[in-house]
C-alpha cells in the first residue's frame, strides 16, 4: 500500500478537475429597476455565462438550417435591433415568410411570443423558426445530429448542460439563454430620464404627445401612443386590432390561435424600443416608414368591428373620427421615436457574431 497516498492524491486531483469542469458562472442580467422583475426563467434552464456563450454561437450558426446557409441571425440582424429589413424574410425555401420578422429585444419580459402570442416561453418559441420549411427548415433532431459531428459543439454542450449527447431540447435552451440577455435600455430617451442628456424641443414635444391622450374639451392634444406602448419598457403584453383591415381574412392573427372571433386581426402590441431600426412595420411589413405608420394611426385605419377601443375613442378634434394630429405633431412624435434607438445595443460586442470577432 505504498502507493495509497499517491493514489488518493490522484483521485482528489482528478475529481476536483471534474468538478471545476462543470462549474458554471451565473449570468447577471442587468436592467433598470423600472423594468421590474415580472419575468420567469425556467428552473431547469438558469442563465449562465457558459450557456449564453453557447446560445450566441447557435444564434449565428447556419448548420441549424437544412441548407447550412441560414442562421437565426439571418433574419434577426443586430444592426436592425435583431429584426429583418425585408418586408418578409427569406429562408431555406426561398419563399417569403408569412409575417415580418420581429425585433428581439427585452424578451425576458415577454410571456407569449410571436405576433399572435402562440409560444409560451423562449425555449418553446425557438422550435418554430428552426423547423419551419420556409425559415430554417430542419428538425431539432437533425440539428442535434449535425452539431454532434462538429469538433466544437459536443464539449460545449457537455460543459453547459452536463450531457454526453446533444439534444434538440438543449439547443433551444441555449438559444433562450442568449435571447434573455438581449436587453436594451440605453437609448437617448433612457439617458434623458436619468438626467444625463436633454431631448431637443421637437423630441420633447413629441414625447408629450406620445405619452398623453387627447382631451379636446380641455384643450389637451395627444397621440395616446403610450396607452398601449407605454411603461418603462414601452410595451405591454396585449394583443390589439389596429384597423389594418376591415376584417382580417388572409391573416387572422390571434384568432388563429384562440379561435375566438373577437381576436380577429389582433396582433401583439410591440415594444417601440429601437423602432426606427426595425422597418418595415406591422405583422405583414406593409409600412415602409414611420411616417406611414403615423399616417395610418392618424388618418387611415379601418373601423374594424373589434378595433382597439383606444383608437376608436381618441380624437384631437371634437367632431373627429380618428386621431387628427397635425403634420408637425406627427413629425414631433417621430422625432421622439428616434430617441428610442439604443446604439449601444446594436453595437454591443456581446451580441455580435462570435465567429467574426477576430476581424
Amino acid at each position: 500500500m505504498r502507493y495509497f497516498p499517491l493514489l488518493t492524491a490522484l483521485v482528489i486531483f482528478l475529481s476536483s478537475f471534474w468538478i471545476t469542469k462543470r462549474e458554471l458562472h451565473p449570468y447577471k442580467l442587468e436592467y433598470p429597476t423600472s423594468f421590474g422583475r415580472r419575468f420567469t426563467i425556467p428552473d431547469d434552464n438558469s442563465t449562465t455565462e457558459e450557456g449564453v456563450a453557447l446560445g450566441r454561437m447557435l444564434f449565428y450558426e447556419p448548420l441549424l438550417s437544412s441548407t447550412n446557409t441560414v442562421a437565426c441571425a439571418s433574419c434577426h440582424k443586430q444592426a436592425n435591433a435583431f429584426s429583418d429589413d425585408r418586408q418578409l424574410s427569406i429562408g431555406v425555401s426561398g419563399k417569403p415568410t408569412r409575417r415580418n420578422s420581429m425585433s428581439l429585444v427585452n424578451l425576458l419580459w415577454v410571456k407569449n411570443l410571436f405576433w399572435d402570442g402562440r409560444a409560451n416561453g423562449l425555449e418553446n418559441q425557438a422550435v418554430f423558426p428552426l423547423a419551419h420549411p420556409d425559415e430554417m427548415g430542419q428538425s431539432l433532431e437533425a440539428s442535434a445530429k449535425k452539431l454532434a459531428k462538429t469538433r466544437r459543439y459536443p464539449s460545449l454542450f457537455q460543459r453547459v448542460f452536463g450531457i454526453s449527447s446533444i439534444t434538440g431540447e438543449h439547443i433551444t435552451k441555449a438559444l433562450a439563454q442568449f435571447e434573455r440577455t438581449l436587453i436594451s435600455a440605453n437609448s437617448p430617451y433612457d439617458r434623458s430620464l436619468k438626467g444625463e442628456t436633454t431631448l431637443s424641443a421637437a423630441e420633447q414635444r413629441g414625447r408629450e404627445l406620445f405619452m398623453r391622450g387627447p382631451a379636446p374639451e380641455r384643450g389637451v392634444r395627444g397621440g395616446n401612443c403610450a396607452h398601449c406602448h407605454g411603461g418603462a419598457k414601452l410595451m405591454q403584453e396585449v394583443f390589439h386590432n389596429n384597423g389594418l383591415d376591415s376584417i382580417a381574412v388572409a391573416d387572422r392573427g390571434r384568432q388563429e390561435i384562440t379561435s375566438d372571433g373577437l381576436d380577429n386581426g389582433r396582433f401583439r402590441v410591440v415594444t417601440l424600443r429601437n423602432i426606427a431600426l426595425t422597418a418595415p412595420y406591422m405583422h405583414d411589413g406593409r409600412f415602409a416608414s414611420l411616417e406611414q405608420v403615423l399616417d395610418h394611426y392618424n388618418e387611415h385605419f379601418h373601423f374594424s368591428p373589434n378595433l382597439s377601443h383606444e383608437l376608436r375613442i381618441s380624437h384631437n378634434e371634437p367632431t373627429g373620427q380618428r386621431l387628427g394630429l397635425t403634420s408637425s405633431e406627427k413629425k414631433d412624435i417621430i422625432a421622439f421615436l428616434r430617441t428610442l434607438t439604443d446604439s449601444t445595443f446594436i453595437t454591443n460586442p456581446a451580441f455580435s457574431n462570435p465567429f467574426e470577432t477576430k476581424k
Binding site: E237, D263, P305, R312
Partner: protein
Amino acid sequence: MTPTSIKLLLGGILVLLFTTKELLAQTLSVTGEVKTPLTLTASDLHALERTEVTAKDRDGKEHRYAGVALTAILRKAGATLGGELRGENLSKYLIAKAGDGYEVLFSLAEVDAEFSGRTILVADSVDGAPLPQGVGPFRLVIPDEKRPARWIRELKSLEIRFAK
C-alpha cells in the same frame, strides 16, 4: 339604391352579424382557489341576482350599469368570502383578465362587499342597452374609484390565487 350603397349596406349587415355572433359566444371563467370553477355565459349571468349601479365612466358622465355583483359570482364559485375571509385567506388576491391580455389585481378582501363595503359590478348592460363590442359582453365597474383603469372591458376571466 346605387350598387355602392347596396355594397355598404351588405357590408354593414355582415359586420353586425359578426359582432352579435361573437358577443353571444363569449364566456366569463372563474378559476383558481375556488370550490367550483365556473364558465358563465351571458344567460347564466342573467339568471343570477341582478344589481344596478350608477357610476362615472371616463367620459365624465354618469351611466347606469346593470349586471351581477362580483361578490355574488365569487360566492357561486365558492370563494372564501364573508366569515371565511380571515386568517390566511386574507392573503388571497384576484386577477381579472381582459380579452386582449390586459390584467389587473385586487385583494380578495377589497372585492368582498361584506368586508370592504363596496360593490363591484360585473356589468353586461349600460343605460339599458347591452355593452357594445370592444367593451362587452362583460365589464368590471368599480363605482368608487377615481380612475377607471381597473374597469376592465371584455372581461374574460377571474382567477383567485394565494400570495406565495
